[in-house]
Every structure is written in structure tokens, then in C-alpha cells.
Symmetry: C2
């Protein structure tokens, strides 16, 4: 561990280095928001006004759909157009699956040698939460640092993951052929957030029926904004269909920013960001003192032994906070 | 809407009807915790001491793995042993996927005709959260009502879903053959919570290689408690392997309740329940007044227009709360 230099510990200087696009400053800032460091709030207050220029692309879909390859190829496509690309991958942490995640990171290092690409994976923190908040903060930092495209990649269909992807300007949902009756796979919460569908691995059998099923599902849906989510077929590993995807993303961006419903969406995202952060700050304020955390420990024991119910334990914690 | 009778509105009477196992009282109580009704806390304080007798079985896995059929067949198995079974299915709500969810519910109605089976699905609420808390409360209600087995079924690999399943006494993770390189599918956060693995649809091709991959993954894992998660093969639609699964569940229950690590787990669950509830109560306290919710609205507008950052918006909400 190197000691901090005056230069690095100075937040005015950190923010100016972020704005100038310095990847080391970006990495440092993301670590701060990830660790909920004491100066993270001050930093984000400065970062936020500089954000909003880049295009944030959320990519999600069932595990195994080839999202990572797709993100890689899309990044290379933008690099060929001289755009800088930030990638934030949400990796629910799992000691068990170290191998798989390590594999991802090695794959990404090839891209990572390119200085115009910034890659960061965000892991699930402890049970105090904050992953979704840290992820959208990381996106804002990359945006403020001048990355023209910021891609957020999430695994799975959980509520946090859905919210993270919904906070993007464009949401891409990735499917694969041959999901058979399992197109329901994607149902849970993410069908209706898709601005664009990708059928990846489109050289596989079953692409036609997956497309038909998807079209049938889409014909039942009525988006308030009138946008018809296109279906783009790709074979990411062979770099096929990537420019089609990029065009679809651009068409949606133009549509989104010209429509009043784009504003509604930005309001929904803003509200969600405020609530996420509020939740986190209130809990850490309540549990911040040593006496509160001791009380939490003893209440935990009592609830575990069923000598007390969680509701009265929470009453006790909230009363303690008022008295202190 | 029927007016409430004195009988129903009396919480002392509601709790006694729950304890006596009345399904209507159970349904009513679950609605209260789901809606965060004003008397939900008082109710749960009374319910909690009566819980802890039933066995709570969490079942999760990739979408399309056939979890619902497995749960149905397991419920029928327990019914044949004259045990009452509660099923709580977590359905991230989605207007888009109404069809799929409706299908599930119709399927379940066949089981639901059996008075010894209680089925309830819990939907994702708005962005104030509370799904996980409401779900574990529903489980406690069923437990207090004397259901010997309470099955919690979740879709997906999100953080909430993982937490819900972790709160069970036994966690079952369901895989299907032929996931190929996609066994990673299940990696994200749920591999290490499995006390038992099921390979469902075990009449399909690829069962052998899925089993080998899983064994390889398991050989890398070292559980602190020394338990070796067994792999059970099932074909739920043909009712095959269900009694093997039930035996594995029983073996784990015996192991879990005899081990000191069972206590550690109950502590972790208790802590998580307290924190979930604390988060929810603190946010609703802060936003409870009309002026706070008006302030949230105007702050949302400012953040959406990037005239303000989320951090200072939260400062403002928290300051307002202190002054009021």
C-alpha cells in the first residue's frame, strides 16, 4: 500500500482529474463510492453536475445468454469510432464462483489493455446493501469523465439488477434461441423494461421460434411511449449483428430524448436514486454508534432464539436513536 | 367490498384464528404484512412467538428449471403423509408477463383445492421495497398457523431472492441438464447457499455432464459446517425422485438442528430480518408526512433535470425530518 500523496487526497484535484478523463482518478472515485467512503458524498455532489452527456446502455438477460461477449464486441465497435467506453459489470459476489468471475475478468483484460476502455466490476456488498446505489454512482463517474458510452451489464433478474438496468438511457435484453417454453425465463420483471431485444447466438437452432414467441409477446404489450422494441439478431462471438445493435441503440436514443416520456423516465430514475440513497443513509445513521451496534448484536441474539420478534427489535433500535 | 365484521377487525381474534390454522385468517394476515397495514406490526409481534415449529424449505434456481412442478410434487408428497403445506411463491410483478404468471396460478389452483395446502404468491411492490420482509413475514404466519412444511419458491438470482431463500431452514437449488457452459448460470450468489442440489428434468440429455460439472464445483467448495450438499436427480413432471428429495431435506434438517452452525445461521437470518425491517421503517418514517412527500417530489424533479445531485437531495430530506 502506497501512502496517499497530498495530490491524491485532495478532492478538488480528484474531481478535476476525473473531469479530464484520468482513468486512475476514475478508479479511485469508484472505489470510494463502492466502499461508502466518508468523502464519497462530497465527491458525488461534484461529479453529478458533470454527468448526463454520455449514453448509458444497460444490458441484461438470462445467465448464459452471452452478454459479456456482446458487451465486448459492442465496445470494440464504439472504439473503432474513436469513442471511449466505460463498462460496469455487476457481479453478485460469490466465493464459490470465483472461477467463473475470474474467467470474465481475464477475458476483459484483453479489452482492458485499450486505454479508451474502462472496465470495472461491482460486487454485492454485505447485508447493508448499497450495490445498486454504488453502481449508478460508478456510471455517473464514468459519464462525468467523458466516456461517450457507458455500458452497465447485469446478471439475473433480481430487483436490484432490474433497477440498475432501468436507470440506463437504453435497456437491452439479451435472449438466446431454443429457450423453448422457457422464454418465460426472461419474463420476470425484465420483459417490460426492454427498449431493444437481442437474440444472441442466432446461428443456433430455434432462432425462428424464439423470434416468433417474442413477437407474440410483444404484440400483447403496449408501451405508453409508443416505441416498438426492435428485435436484433447477433452472433457476438463472430461479431455478427453488432452494428445492427448499435443502430437500434441510436434510434432509441433519438426517440427517447425527443419524447416527453423520456422525462418521465428520468424522473422515475431520479426518484429511485434518492430513495436508495435515503435508505442507506438512514440505516447507517441509526447504526453508526458503538452502542447501537452492540444493541443490534444483542437484539439479533434474542430474535434468533425467538425470545423477541423482529418488529419490537426494530422499535427498540429506533427508540434508541431518538434518545441519543 | 364487504364491511369488516367486529370479529374480523379484532386482532386478538385474528391471531387466535391463525394459531388454530384457519386459512382465511392466514390469508388476511398475509395481506396485512404485504400491504404494510397499520396493524401489521402488532400482528407480527403476536405471530412470531408461535413460529419456529414448521420446517421452512427454500427452493430456487434458474428460470425454466421446473421449480414450480417440483414444488407441486413435493407438496403432494407431504400431503400423502398428512402434513399441511404452505407455499409462498415470489413473483416479481410484471404487467407484461401476466400470461405466464396466470398460468402458474391456474396450475396451482389444482393443488389449491386441497384444504391442507395454502398457496400465496408475493409480488414485487413499488420502489419502497419490502418484498423480502413481507415474504419472510408470510412464512412466519404460515409457520405459526401450524403448517408443518412451508415452501418458499423464488425465481431468479437477485439479491432479494437470494436473501429470502437463505432465510429458510433448508435451501434447495434446482438445475437442469444441458446447461453446458452455462452452469455458471446458477453461479451468481446461489451456489454457495445450496444445502441440496436438484437436477430436475433428469431424463434429458446432458444429465451426466451437468452432474460431473456440479461435483467438480462442489469439490472446490468447503462449507464451514462440514455438510456435503447432496445432488438429487428428479423428473418432477413424472413424479420421479421426489421422495429422494424429501429424504435429503430431512437429513439436512437433522444435521442443521444438531449443529452449532445452525445457530450461526439463525443469527444471520435474524440480523437480516431486523435490518430489512429497520430500513423500511426508517424510510417510511422519514417520508410519512405530506410535506416530506411533497419535498420528495420537488427534489425528484430537480435531480431529474440535473439541477441537484441525489446526495444533497437526501441531505435535505434527512434535515427536514430532524426539524419536524
Amino acid at each position: 500500500m502506497k501512502p496517499e500523496t497530498d495530490h491524491e487526497s485532495n478532492s478538488a484535484s480528484l474531481i478535476s482529474r476525473i473531469i479530464s478523463g484520468d482513468p486512475r482518478a476514475v478508479a479511485r472515485a469508484i472505489s470510494k463510492v463502492e466502499d461508502s467512503s466518508h468523502d464519497a458524498a462530497a465527491l458525488m455532489k461534484e461529479v453529478f453536475p458533470h454527468s448526463g452527456k454520455g449514453l448509458v446502455i444497460g444490458i441484461t438477460g438470462a445467465p448464459g445468454a452471452g452478454k459479456s461477449s456482446l458487451v465486448d464486441k459492442l465496445a470494440l465497435f464504439y472504439r473503432a469510432r474513436k469513442e471511449r467506453v466505460g463498462i460496469v459489470a455487476v457481479d453478485p459476489s460469490s466465493p464459490f464462483s470465483g472461477g467463473a468471475i475470474l474467467g470474465d475478468r481475464i477475458r476483459m483484460q484483453a479489452l482492458g489493455l485499450d486505454k479508451g476502455v474502462f472496465i470495472r466490476s461491482m460486487a454485492t456488498r454485505g447485508n447493508l446493501g448499497g450495490l445498486a446505489r454504488a453502481t449508478v454512482d460508478a456510471v455517473s463517474i464514468l459519464d462525468a469523465a467523458g466516456y461517450e458510452k457507458v455500458v452497465v451489464e447485469t446478471v439475473g433478474v433480481g430487483q436490484d439488477e432490474v433497477e440498475i438496468v432501468k436507470a440506463a438511457d437504453v435497456c437491452v435484453v439479451v435472449l438466446v434461441p431454443g429457450m423453448g417454453d422457457d422464454i418465460q425465463a426472461i419474463k420476470a420483471g425484465i420483459m417490460e423494461i426492454a427498449d431493444i431485444f437481442v437474440i444472441n447466438k442466432a446461428d443456433r437452432e430455434g432462432v425462428y421460434s424464439t423470434e416468433k414467441e417474442l413477437e407474440a409477446l410483444l404484440s400483447l404489450a403496449h408501451r405508453e411511449d409508443g416505441w416498438q422494441p426492435p428485435i436484433v439478431k447477433t452472433v457476438a462471438t463472430e461479431n455478427k449483428g453488432i452494428s445492427d445493435l448499435a443502430s437500434a441503440i441510436e434510434r432509441y436514443r433519438d426517440f427517447h430524448f425527443s419524447s416527453d416520456l423520456g422525462n418521465q423516465r428520468r424522473r422515475a430514475v431520479a426518484r429511485w436514486r434518492i430513495l436508495e440513497l435515503l435508505r442507506e443513509k438512514l440505516v447507517s445513521r441509526t447504526l453508526d454508534s458503538e452502542s447501537a451496534s452492540e444493541k443490534l448484536d444483542s437484539l439479533t441474539d434474542e430474535v434468533a432464539r425467538r425470545q423477541r420478534d423482529p418488529y419490537s427489535a426494530v422499535d427498540e433500535l429506533m427508540n434508541g436513536e431518538r434518545q441519543s
